[in-house]
């Protein structure tokens, strides 16, 4: 069970959002939506242990995330969470394959991970030796999705995965996220203001961020 309890965040003494509460059962999907500037990306950073909230608690299967030492938070994120960032956060000087390999080394697993299969699923198998800087936006998005699923995460967070894509690519990415989540038996938390996403993925829970304020 994943629980977000009374989470608030202040910037320079001003409340960005407050008292966010929800929980998510295993293998269920949550959509967090709301207008631009409401703090969706900040919330995602808080949920996956990148940004400490001003108040509140994030719990993964009884583990209080922000009660862990910072090093353990990083390790927890690497081993249990898959994150697709809005701006991808890929290493541009690395090749497609290297970006997946570095993610594998972060997990520190002995399990062999079939990277080629993963690249094949996202349609980048023939571009594995191309530097990320030379990929299109759609390709970068697909690579970011592939990287998020490298370690078979239990929870997957996606920040605006389709916003910058045309309908066709948005459809491909949404399907990919859904399929991979099912394969990993992961809970999915998707944050977006893109209204198309609800027609592409069926969510078990929807939170409208503006309405909670």
């Amino acid at each position: 069970m994943f629980i977000c309890e009374d989470v608030s965040f202040d910037i320079d003494g001003q409340k960005l959002f407050s008292n966010i509460n929800f929980n998510l059962k295993p293998q269920k999907d949550l959509l967090i939506t709301g207008p631009s500037g409401i703090g969706k990306t900040t919330l995602l950073s808080i949920l996956c242990g990148i940004q400490k909230p001003t108040t509140g608690k994030i719990t993964y299967n009884s583990i209080d995330l922000y009660n862990l030492p910072e090093n353990k938070i990083d390790e927890f994120r690497g081993k249990n969470l898959g994150v697709v960032f809005q701006n991808f956060n890929l290493i541009n000087t690395f090749t497609v394959k290297q970006n997946l390999e570095i993610a594998v080394s972060a997990i520190n697993t002995r399990k062999s991970i079939p990277l080629f299969n993963l690249l094949d699923k996202v349609g980048l198998a023939n571009k594995s030796h191309i530097k990320v800087a030379n990929l299109s936006i759609g390709e970068k998005q697909r690579l970011a999705v592939a990287r998020a699923f490298v370690g078979d995460p239990k929870w997957v967070f996606c920040d605006e995965p389709t916003s910058s894509l045309d309908d066709k690519n948005a459809h491909i990415i949404a399907n990919l996220i859904k399929e991979e989540s099912l394969r990993c038996k992961a809970s999915l938390v998707l944050i977006t203001h893109d209204s198309r996403i609800q027609s592409l993925i069926k969510f078990s829970k929807i939170i409208r961020l503006g309405e909670q304020l």
């Binding site: 390790e75 690497g78 956060n89 993610a103």
Partner: protein
């Protein structure tokens, strides 16, 4: 690369300096078998010591053997060993002397015997190794102390003994009787026989004040004290070594700065990548250790290559110089010094690397990712 290069240059210079310093001290202390004075022709006392004990310089001249015999009988003298220089074989000096010379250096034979008649020679360990001379082999001396090709073909020496390694200058000498040297140089008139110098040990150390004065003022010879002359020389060379050491220290400091700047630049250029690695699950400590490893690789690589280069230069100095051949470096105890330098350099590099490592450790990944 520049950091590694600077580190290599600095460590190489300091290594050579340490080795040369050790060689100088080691050679000078080992080569002197407790001699109190050397009596020879007037001239530079240091030159007399260097030529008669360490076999580096040319002698100041010759002294009359008749006069030398008077010194041998002097009541203040415990032992006196005459030596006569003038020839060499493949740059190894041929020393005419008596068997007391072997006792002086506590020399033992690996094979053969000591000389018993003129034109028989006992060769040092290195001489036999380098020239491949063996017992019963003949060789001809070359006139002068450096191989000039002007050889005494008519009178060859016969090798009758090979000495055990002593780690002293003895290993690089060819010993023969005084008669051999006199024969070669046609000195047959007993009253006109000459030697190069007389190696002396006093019965009583108090003679070290009175005896040299007696020789220096009362005769046309000079008495020089090995310990006094060598300490003067070491003082002079010590200053030069210190300047070289300061210079190499400066280069090493520059290399530390190089490592620091390189790592800080790398971090600035890669701060986004490092933040991405954190999001993927690399902990702060993992990134800390990665940056530390990068810096330490530069330092360990540079310091190790530097020490190896320094040692190669030192070895080359020994093998490729004529002077080197007349010096027995002995067994050097430099490993401890070099290891200490290596450790100190890498500890300082470690401390230097902590600056960028702490910067990475304190990095705020969210703001870095947002700003990028």
């Amino acid at each position: 690369m520049l950091s590694v290069f600077l580190m290599v240059v600095g460590i190489t210079i300091i290594t050579v300096s340490i080795l040369v310093n050790q060689v100088t001290k080691n050679t000078f202390s080992k080569n002197n078998p407790g001699l109190d004075a050397v009596v020879g022709a007037k001239g530079s006392p240091l030159q007399l010591i260097l030529s008669s004990i360490h076999h580096i310089d040319i002698p100041t001249g010759n002294i009359s053997y008749q006069n030398a015999k008077k010194i041998i009988k002097h009541p203040a003298i415990k032992s006196a060993t005459p030596i006569s220089l003038g020839d060499n074989f493949q740059n190894f000096r041929i020393v005419g002397t008596n068997k007391n010379f072997l006792k002086l250096y506590k020399a033992n034979l690996i094979s053969g015997t000591a000389w018993s008649e003129p034109m028989q020679a006992v060769i040092g360990y290195n001489v036999s190794k380098i020239t491949k001379l063996k017992i019963n082999k003949f060789f001809v001396g070359s006139h002068g102390l450096i191989d000039t090709g002007d050889v005494h073909v008519e009178q060859p020496y016969k090798v009758v003994g090979v000495l055990k390694k002593t780690g002293t200058i003895l290993d690089n000498l060819i010993l023969t009787s005084l008669d051999s040297v006199w024969n070669l140089h046609s000195d047959t008139n007993k009253n006109k026989l000459e030697i190069t110098s007389l190696l002396l040990k006093y019965k009583n150390k108090t003679s070290s004040f009175s005896f040299p004065r007696l020789i220096n003022k009362g005769t046309n010879m000079q008495a020089a004290s090995p310990s006094f002359e060598i300490s003067k020389l070491l003082k002079l060379t010590g200053n030069a070594h210190r300047i070289v050491d300061y210079f190499s220290l400066l280069i090493i400091i520059l290399s530390f700065l190089g490592i620091l700047i390189t790592l800080l630049n790398n971090i600035n250029e890669r701060k986004y990548d490092l933040a991405v690695l954190r999001t993927l699950g690399f902990s702060r400590w993992k990134l800390f250790s990665i940056i530390l490893s990068e810096g330490m690789i530069i330092s360990i690589l540079g310091s190790t290559i530097g020490i190896i280069c320094g040692y190669i230069i030192y070895e080359s100095m020994y093998y490729f110089s004529i002077v080197g051949r007349s010096i027995e470096f002995g067994e050097l105890n430099f490993l401890n010094d070099l290891f200490l330098i290596w450790i100190i350099v890498n500890i300082i590099a470690f401390i230097t690397c902590l600056v960028p490592c702490i910067k990475v450790y304190k990095q705020n990944i969210r703001s870095t990712l947002l700003n990028s």
